[in-house]
């Protein structure tokens, strides 16, 4: 219960095509993350799956049934919005009960469900408060509670953590992952934050300009990106790109190397450079090294990094860890 199949789904707003034909099979119980830069169509696709946007062409199948023209309420999906979209004049209890009351569930049953949901989400003490009296994290939990209580076949999350502060975001990330493990329900999660994508997903779909660039597990995307866009988007800090001249035997136009795959030496190496800004994070250090004639490299070093601003150093790539891209940006196999 909870498999979703997208078949050649497209979306146009007037003349602008926001989603180009997309095929995607989401398995039951999977945590899939749609990630991409803003305006890439990931939220639109989520809203199409929810039924809040019309599908221009193609089919959306939920549990094997064509649901392309099914109204949102009949799709058996629940959504958590970026603004939480709680009903401000209703208490937490009524917010959570709202979908049940619409579905004509009996009073006793509603009470039972609310009790179990609020216990799972630690909301029991706030049942009679209005959303305005809750903190951001609590509101987020109420929104999730309102989604859970309907026992949907899949959850849709539309950038749910972007309004929270950094430490709360880490907590809620864990709570949502935990929730996925206990409920074992399909979850589709939209975010522009690749850290959220990497940490939470079973599979990630990387979106760019209305198409899916690559779908795969976080490590698949990290280690074997299909093109330059995915390579640059996944991973923090970003991968370093070095433009080179293609030769007759080698079509490589660009080399990609991750910050942790660069070694530093004071005596010799492939690229001589000057140390720029150094970011100390305690357990690790990021050095921004200006290489003559090339761009600025980001290099990851250990926590006790001896270099200071202005030092002259040499950088070399770790053997076999470099990615090669051709003129179109596609990854070449070595």
């Amino acid at each position: 219960m909870g498999s979703i199949n997208l078949k050649q789904v497209t979306k146009d707003f007037g003349d602008v095509s926001v989603i180009k034909p997309i095929d995607l099979a989401i398995k039951d119980g999977e945590f899939i993350v749609f990630v991409g830069p803003s305006g890439c169509g990931k939220s639109t696709l989520l809203r199409m799956i929810a039924g809040l946007e019309d599908t221009t062409s193609g089919n959306i199948e939920i549990d094997g049934q064509d649901a392309t023209d099914t109204p949102p309420a009949k799709r058996g999906l629940a959504m958590v919005f970026q603004s939480y979209a709680l009903y401000p004049h209703m208490s937490v209890r009524n917010n959570i009960a709202f979908p049940l009351k619409r579905a004509k569930v009996s009073k006793a049953e509603i009470e039972k469900k609310i009790a179990s949901v609020t216990k799972t989400l630690n909301l029991s003490d706030y049942l009679d408060r209005k959303p305005g009296q809750l903190s951001g994290g609590q509101r987020q939990r109420v929104a999730i509670g309102r989604a859970i209580v309907r026992q949907p076949s899949a959850f849709l999350f539309d950038e749910p953590l972007s309004n929270l502060d950094a430490s709360l975001r880490v907590n809620m990330r864990l709570e949502i992952s935990e929730l996925h493990k206990t409920l074992a329900t399909t979850m589709i999660y939209v975010t522009h934050d690749q850290v959220e994508a990497m940490t939470m997903a079973d599979r990630i779909a990387v979106f760019n300009a209305g198409i899916i660039e690559q779908v795969g597990s976080p490590l698949e995307l990290y280690n074997t990106p299909v093109n330059k866009f995915v390579a640059g988007f996944i991973g923090s800090p970003k991968m370093n790109f070095i433009d080179i001249e293609p030769t007759a035997t080698d079509a490589t136009c660009c080399l990609g190397i991750r910050p942790e795959h660069i070694t530093i030496s004071t005596t010799s190496g492939t690229w001589p450079g000057k140390v720029g800004v150094i970011e100390h994070l305690g357990s690790e250090t990021f050095l921004h090294v200006h290489v003559e004639g090339k761009a600025t490299f980001t290099v990851k070093a250990g926590g006790d990094c001896p270099y200071v601003y202005g030092d002259n150093i040499y950088l070399s790539a770790v053997e076999n860890k470099m990615l090669h891209f051709d003129a179109a940006g596609l990854t070449l196999s070595q």
């Binding site: 039924g51 809040l52 949102p72 309420a73 629940a78 979209a85 009903y87 709202f98 305005g132």
Partner: protein
């Protein structure tokens, strides 16, 4: 406005206008209060004896007072009902994406800019006239006998005219409120299985409560003193059927030349307005808080 210097200066500079405003309010009020205790009739000048509460006694025991008191309530309540109901409907319609929406909005607002006497005259002569009016023509076209609006249903006719004037105001305030509604709430309600009526009742209407409160308070203040529409159309008649308190005070003091009685009526009207204000603030004022 932070230092004590600037605060003192601010108070000093505000002082003249505050005094002026206070005098502007207090002098007429005190004079009215004073006149209301006098036997002050313009037909018998020079007497002006102090007669205590006699003016009040006459005004409050006059059958016309009760008639006009209930007329006032009917007028205010009726107009509020129509403008709020129609206003919410219009606001929802105007919120839809339609072609030429901006022009429609301006046209909807137009009646509010027509002065009361003019709009009352237009209604009286062009629409509601039993011989030449549009409604009369329409009625005869349908084969019915035309309604003589100001003779048969005078108060309702005035309610209709005033509602026409105030509908745009209510619609506009409610429209701005509807536009500030978070669309994600409606999306969430869609997913939660709420139909159009549930969405309206549970999400749109509570969101509008603040705007509705503002409309009720503002309109009540103005509707208590409706005058021009009555003077132009029915002159309060037939009998006292379309007389409200404001119009009654006018007949007392300017048609019967009884300044004392009129003043007493004025003070009674002030008291009624205050009672209504307190009542409204208690009842719905909490919507404006937070």
């Amino acid at each position: 406005m932070a230092t004590s210097n600037s605060r003192t200066l601010a108070r000093l500079m505000l002082f003249p206008s505050v005094v002026l405003l206070l005098a502007w309010m207090l002098v007429p009020l005190c004079m009215t209060l004073y006149f209301s205790f006098l036997d002050y009739n313009l037909l018998t000048p020079g007497n002006n004896a102090f007669i205590g509460f006699l003016n009040y006694e006459f005004f409050l025991t006059d059958p016309a007072f009760f008639a006009s008191f209930f007329n006032t309530i009917l007028l205010v309540g009726g107009v509020l009902l129509i403008t709020l109901g129609g206003g919410i409907g219009l606001a929802i319609l105007l919120d839809q994406a339609i072609w030429g929406r901006n022009y429609v909005r301006i046209m909807v607002l137009a009646p509010f800019f027509v002065m009361p006497t003019v709009s009352a005259l237009v209604w009286k002569n062009m629409l509601m006239n039993p011989v030449n009016g549009l409604f009369a023509h329409f009625a005869t076209w349908l084969g019915m006998s035309p309604i003589d609006f100001f003779a048969q249903i005078p108060l309702l006719s005035i309610i209709i005219i005033v509602s026409w004037q105030w509908l745009p105001f209510a619609a506009l305030i409610l429209l701005t409120s509807i536009q500030s509604l978070d669309r994600e709430q409606l999306d969430a309600a869609d997913l939660d299985g709420a139909g159009p009526f549930s969405k309206f009742y549970y999400i749109v209407l509570p969101h509008l409560s603040r705007a509705i409160t503002a409309v009720i308070l503002i309109e009540t203040i103005f509707l208590l003193s409706i005058f021009a529409e009555i003077l132009v159309t029915t002159s309060g008649g037939p009998g006292y059927e379309s007389t409200n308190i404001t119009y009654l005070i006018y007949t007392q003091s300017l048609l019967q030349f009884d300044v004392g009685g009129g003043s007493a009526g004025g003070i009674v009207a002030v008291i009624i307005a205050n009672i209504v204000a307190i009542f409204l603030m208690r009842l719905i004022g909490k919507n404006l808080e937070d």
